[in-house]
């Protein structure tokens, strides 16, 4: 028999700047059944949030404070962030 959690496993995805303002929140939770690629995660988020859809062509994804490629696999416990074009300096 498996353990049953009170809440389904989720990845918290952090948002910043324009994307944060448009979504209206500094992070969104994505419920996951198991490990998924960054590409799959982005598509899920784009389906749920028009703002993510609009930025899709220029978002870079960071996992655990480091940029990763589309095929990188993420799961619950990872710190994921969507990085729109930066403008520090």
């Amino acid at each position: 028999m498996k353990d049953v959690d009170s809440s389904p496993p989720a990845i918290d995805v952090r948002l910043f700047s324009s994307l944060r303002e448009q979504v209206g929140c500094g992070s969104v939770a994505v419920i996951v059944e198991g490990p998924m690629t960054v590409d799959e995660l982005l598509r899920r988020l784009a389906d749920e949030h028009r703002a993510v859809q609009a930025f899709l062509s220029c978002i870079r994804v960071a996992v655990n404070q480091e940029y990763v490629g589309e095929s990188h696999v993420v799961g619950p416990g990872d710190e994921v962030a969507l990085i729109t074009p930066v403008s520090g300096g």
Binding site: V86, G88, G89
Partner: protein, 152 residues
Amino acid sequence: MEELRTDRRWIRIQEAPLDVAPASDFLRVEEAGGIDLFLGTTRRWTDGRETVQLEYECYESMAVSELDRLLDEAADRWPLSRACILHRTGAVPLREISVVVGVSTPHRDAAFGACRYLIDELKRRVPIWKKERFADGTTDWVEGERPPLTDG
């Protein structure tokens, strides 16, 4: 505030005003003969529009990690004696400093090369965003270059 400081490098993200003197003091070491410091400041006029302040948002933990990686890359290419990158967050009024990038090296060629590399890459990669607040009351998130997704 988020900071990483070792003998040779100093990275700091802070809300408080930035000053150039602590950076210069950190960089001046016996093995260095040249120091290049770049300061970014809030400019009033851009393409005829009047800015009243810039507002910086930062993903601080990642910014420090990414700046540390940038300094690794620069140290591979140039003989850095010391290097520092300090970035302010929140509102930065006209004339005030948003970023200090500084390196000290034995000779000046490397200092100019490394400093330029660091500020260019910071503007490309480090998760910090600026919003311009204009005199007419409007605001704009500034978008930098849009690099393609690459496999990490």
